[in-house]
C-alpha cells in the first residue's frame, strides 16, 4: 500500500482535469466527481496510515532537474508526520466536498468551484507527500494558487477580488523568503532531500550563522502561509471566499502548512537557538494579538479567522519552545474542530441567507439543533474543555511553553487561552442564544450539510485521545527515529490551570452575553482607545498601505516620469538634434552646380594636402 501512496493526490488531480475539460457539461453533477475522487483519496490515506503505524518510512524518487553536477529529485515519501497529515487533509477535504454540494448548489459555476477544490486537494496532498523541500515549495505555491482562485471565486465582488489578490501577494512575500532559504540550504548542503539535509547539517555543512539565516527564511515562508504576525493580514480578508473554502483552506489545511513546514524542517530549527526563539516569539505575539482582535470583531467568519490565526500562533509557540509533538498534535486537533466551527458557521450563514454579522443573529439553538450542538462541541473543544480534543493538545502546549520558553511566554499563552474561551463563547451565545432577530425563520439544513458536521464533531471529541498523558501514542509515533529533543509533558496542576482558564473565559462570556449580569460595554467603556485600536486591527492594514504599497506606486509614477522625460528624453534630444542639423546642412545644398564643384575641388585639395603633410608627396 505504501508504494501506492502517490495515488492519493492523483485522484483529485484527475478530478480537476475532468472538471476543467467537461465541467460545464456536468454542471452540478460535478460535485459527485469531486466527492468520489476525495473518497478514494480518503480510503487510500486511511489504508496508508494503518500500514504505516508500526511500519517503516517508504520513499521513491526520480531525477527532476540537473544543474552542473548536482541534481534535484522528485518523488514521494511516507513518514509518520505526513501520514498523519494525509489523513487529516483527506478527511477534512472529503467532508468539505460533501458539505459544499448543498452550500454551493445555487451557484451556476459550481463545476468551477469543484475543480478549484479538487486542485487544492491535489496540491495539499502533494505538499504533504513531498520528500524534499523544493517539491514542497512547488505544491506550497499551488495551494496558494488554489487559495487565490477560491477566495476570488466570486470575482465580481470587488472585496473578493481584492482579498484574493491580497492573499496571494502577502503569502508571496513569505514564499520568496522560503525560496531563498531553500536555495541557501541547497547551496550549503548540496541537496534538498529532508534526510540528506539533516545529516549534512549534523555533519556541520553550514555555519551556525548560516543555519540561523536559513531557518529564519524558511520560517518566513511559514509566517506568510500560516498567517503569523506581521503577515497575518491576508487571512481575515480571505473570508470573502465561500465558507467551505474557509473551512478547508483557511482553517484546517493550508494555513497549517506553515506549521507543518516548521515541523518537517525541525532539525534545522533545532540547530539554531536564535531561530527557535524567533519562532516562539512570533507565535506568541500572533496568538495574543489575534485573540485580542477576535474579542471585539462582529463578523462570524472573521472571528473564526482571528481565532485560527491565534491558534496557529499557539502551534508556532509550541514548536519554538521545543514542543514538537505538542505543536503538531494541536495542528491535527485544531484542523478538526476549526473545520467543524467553520462549517457550522457556514451552515448558519446559509440558513440566514448569507448574513454574517453576529449582532443580527441569535436564538438559533432551537431552530437548528444539529448545527447548534456540533458548534457547541467545537466551541468547547477549542476552549479546552476536557476531555475534548483541544484540551489535550492545549495542555501539552502549555507544558512545552513552560518548560522551554520561560515564564513570560507562558503568561502570554495562558492569557490567550483565557481570551480564546471568552471570545468563542461570546460568539456562541450571541449566535445561538437570545432572541432571533431576522425575518425569515431559519430551518436546519439538509443532510449533505449536517453529516459532515456530525462527523467532524466526532473527530473533535475523540482526536485528543491519541496523545494523552496516560497513553502518549502520537508522541511515540512521531518522534520515532527522529532527534527532536525531549518532549515536555503536562502535570496535573497544568491541566487544572488550563481547565480554570477555559472556565473563566466561559464564565465571563456567560455573564456578559447570556445572563447580562456584567454590562456588555463593561470593558469598552473603561478603555475606549484600546477598543478602537482592536476594532481597527491595530491599524496594520493602514500602516502597510502607507509604508509599502503607496510608496511603491509613488516610486513607480516617479520613475515612469523619469523614464519618459529623462531617459527617453535624452534619446529624443539626440534624435532631434540629428534632425535639426540635417535641416541646417540641407540648406547648403542650394542646387548650384558650380558651388558643388568648387567644394569638391577644395575638398580634394584638402585630401591631397593631408596626404602631403602626413606622408610627403604621394609616398
Amino acid at each position: 500500500m505504501l508504494q501506492n501512496a502517490w495515488l492519493i493526490p492523483v485522484f483529485p488531480l484527475i478530478a480537476f482535469i475532468i472538471l476543467l475539460l467537461f465541467g460545464r457539461f456536468l454542471k452540478d453533477k460535478s460535485s459527485y466527481v469531486g466527492i468520489a475522487a476525495l473518497a478514494l483519496s480518503f480510503i487510500f490515506s486511511l489504508l496508508v496510515l494503518m500500514e504505516r503505524i508500526g511500519g517503516e518510512t517508504y520513499g521513491f524518487t526520480v531525477n527532476w532537474l540537473t544543474t552542473g553536477d548536482r541534481t534535484i529529485s522528485a518523488g514521494y515519501e511516507v513518514t509518520a508526520l505526513n501520514v498523519m497529515m494525509l489523513f487529516v487533509v483527506a478527511a477534512v477535504s472529503l467532508l468539505v466536498h460533501i458539505f459544499s454540494r448543498e452550500y454551493m448548489h445555487e451557484d451556476n459555476r459550481i463545476h468551477v468551484f469543484y475543480s478549484y477544490l479538487a486542485l487544492f486537494s491535489f496540491s495539499m496532498l502533494g505538499l504533504v507527500l513531498s520528500p524534499n523541500l523544493l517539491q514542497l515549495f512547488i505544491f506550497w505555491e499551488l495551494v496558494g494558487l488554489s487559495s487565490f482562485l477560491l477566495v476570488g471565486f466570486w470575482y465580481f465582488k470587488p472585496e473578493a477580488a481584492a482579498a484574493a489578490k491580497k492573499a496571494f501577494l502577502v503569502t508571496r512575500i513569505g514564499d520568496v523568503g522560503l525560496l531563498i532559504g531553500l536555495i541557501l540550504l541547497f547551496n550549503a548542503t548540496g541537496s534538498l532531500e529532508y534526510s540528506a539535509v539533516f545529516s549534512a547539517i549534523e555533519a556541520g555543512a553550514a555555519t551556525n550563522t548560516m543555519l540561523t539565516v536559513i531557518a529564519v527564511l524558511i520560517f518566513l515562508g511559514a509566517v506568510g502561509k500560516s498567517a503569523q504576525f506581521p503577515l497575518h493580514v491576508w487571512l481575515p480578508d480571505a473570508m470573502e471566499g465561500p465558507t467551505p473554502v474557509s473551512a478547508l483552506i483557511h482553517a484546517a489545511t493550508m494555513v497549517a502548512a506553515g506549521v507543518y513546514l516548521v515541523g518537517v524542517m525541525y532539525p534545522v530549527f533545532l540547530a539554531s537557538s536564535t531561530a527557535m526563539l524567533i519562532v516562539a516569539w512570533v507565535g506568541a505575539i500572533t496568538a495574543f494579538i489575534a485573540a485580542t482582535i477576535a474579542l471585539v470583531n462582529t463578523d462570524i467568519k472573521r472571528i473564526l479567522a482571528y481565532s485560527t490565526i491565534s491558534q496557529l500562533g499557539f502551534m508556532m509557540l509550541a514548536l519554538g519552545t521545543g514542543g514538537y509533538v505538542a505543536g503538531l498534535f494541536h495542528l491535527m486537533t485544531h484542523a478538526f474542530f476549526k473545520a467543524l466551527l467553520f462549517l457550522g458557521a457556514g451552515s448558519v450563514i446559509f440558513a440566514l441567507h448569507h448574513r454574517q454579522d453576529i449582532r443580527n443573529m441569535g436564538g438559533l439553538w432551537n431552530r437548528m439543533k444539529i448545527t447548534s450542538v456540533t458548534f457547541l462541541i467545537g466551541t468547547l473543544a477549542i476552549a479546552g474543555a476536557p476531555p475534548l480534543a483541544g484540551f489535550w493538545s492545549k495542555e501539552v502546549i502549555l507544558a512545552a511553553v513552560l518548560e522551554g520558553g520561560g515564564i513570560v511566554l507562558f503568561l502570554i499563552a495562558a492569557v490567550t487561552a483565557f481570551m480564546t474561551a471568552f471570545y468563542m463563547f461570546r460568539l456562541f451565545f450571541r449566535v445561538f442564544t437570545g432572541e432571533f432577530k431576522g425575518e425569515h425563520e431559519p430551518v436546519e439544513n439538509k443532510k449533505f450539510m449536517t453529516v459532515p458536521l456530525v462527523a467532524l464533531a466526532v473527530f473533535a471529541v475523540v482526536a485528543g485521545f491519541v496523545n494523552t498523558p496516560f497513553a502518549a501514542g502520537l508522541e511515540g509515533f512521531l518522534t520515532e527515529g527522529l532527534n527532536v529533543g525531549e518532549q515536555a509533558h503536562g502535570t496535573i496542576w497544568l491541566a487544572g490551570l488550563s481547565v480554570l482558564l477555559a472556565a473563566g473565559g466561559f464564565g465571563l462570556a456567560w455573564a456578559m452575553y447570556y445572563k447580562g449580569t456584567v454590562a456588555q460595554d463593561f470593558f469598552t467603556s473603561k478603555a475606549p482607545g484600546v477598543h478602537k485600536l482592536l476594532l481597527n486591527k491595530y491599524y496594520l492594514d493602514e500602516i502597510y498601505q502607507a509604508a509599502f504599497a503607496r510608496p511603491t506606486v509613488a516610486a513607480g509614477k516617479f520613475l515612469a516620469e523619469v523614464d519618459r522625460r529623462v531617459i527617453d528624453g535624452i534619446v529624443l534630444v539626440a534624435a532631434r538634434s540629428v534632425e535639426r542639423s540635417g535641416q541646417v546642412i540641407r540648406k547648403q545644398h542650394n542646387g548650384q552646380l558650380q558651388t558643388y564643384g568648387l567644394v569638391t575641388i577644395i575638398g580634394g585639395l584638402a585630401v591631397i594636402a593631408l596626404a602631403f603633410v602626413l606622408r610627403g608627396y604621394f609616398g
Partner: protein, 164 residues
C-alpha cells in the same frame, strides 16, 4: 632649341591663349571661335607627336563638327546676353581661382619631379590604329558605337518639342 621645340612652344602658347580667350571674351560666338582655334592648335601638337591620324580626327571632330554644333546650340538659345546680373559673388571667383591655381601648382610640381626612362614609339599610322581598334578593341568599338547611337536618339528626343 630644336625645331620641334620651337613649334611646340608656338602651338602651346596659341592653345593656352585661345583657352584663356574662351573664358574671357564677351560674346559667346567669339568664344566658340576661340575654342575652335584652341582645338586647332592641339591638333597641331598631335602632328608634332607624330600622331597624324589623331590630329586629323581632332580637326574633323572638334574643329569641324563640334564647333558647328556649339554654334547651333548658341543660336537656338539666348546668345545676345552673355553677362548676367547680378554677377557671381567675388568670393566665389577668388576661391575658384585659388583652388584651381593650387591644383595647377600641385600638378606642375608633380610633373616637374617626374623622372622616368623615355622610349619613343614608331608613330601612329592609321593602319596600326585600325588594326588595334578592329582587333583588340573590337568590343569596345561596338560599345562606343551603341553609345553614339544612344546619344543620337537621346539628343533628338530631348531637343524635340514636346507634342501637345
Amino acid at each position: 632649341m630644336t625645331p620641334q621645340l620651337i613649334f611646340f612652344l608656338i602651338l602651346a602658347v596659341m592653345a593656352i591663349a585661345c583657352a584663356v580667350l574662351v573664358i574671357s571674351l564677351k560674346k559667346i560666338s567669339h568664344r566658340i571661335i576661340a575654342m575652335a582655334f584652341c582645338f586647332f592648335a592641339i591638333a597641331g601638337l598631335y602632328f608634332l607627336l607624330r600622331a597624324e591620324f589623331i590630329g586629323i580626327v581632332q580637326i574633323i571632330v572638334y574643329v569641324g563638327a563640334l564647333s558647328i554644333l556649339f554654334i547651333f546650340g548658341m543660336m537656338m538659345t539666348d546668345h545676345r546676353n552673355v553677362t548676367f546680373v547680378p554677377d557671381r559673388k567675388r568670393g566665389h571667383k577668388i576661391l575658384s581661382f585659388l583652388g584651381v591655381g593650387t591644383l595647377l601648382g600641385l600638378m606642375l610640381y608633380g610633373i616637374s619631379t617626374l623622372d622616368f626612362p623615355v622610349n619613343e614609339a614608331q608613330g601612329g599610322t592609321g593602319e596600326e590604329i585600325g588594326i588595334q581598334l578592329y582587333g583588340h578593341y573590337v568590343i569596345a568599338v561596338q560599345g562606343v558605337g551603341i553609345l553614339l547611337l544612344a546619344a543620337l536618339v537621346g539628343a533628338v528626343v530631348l531637343a524635340r518639342k514636346e507634342a501637345e
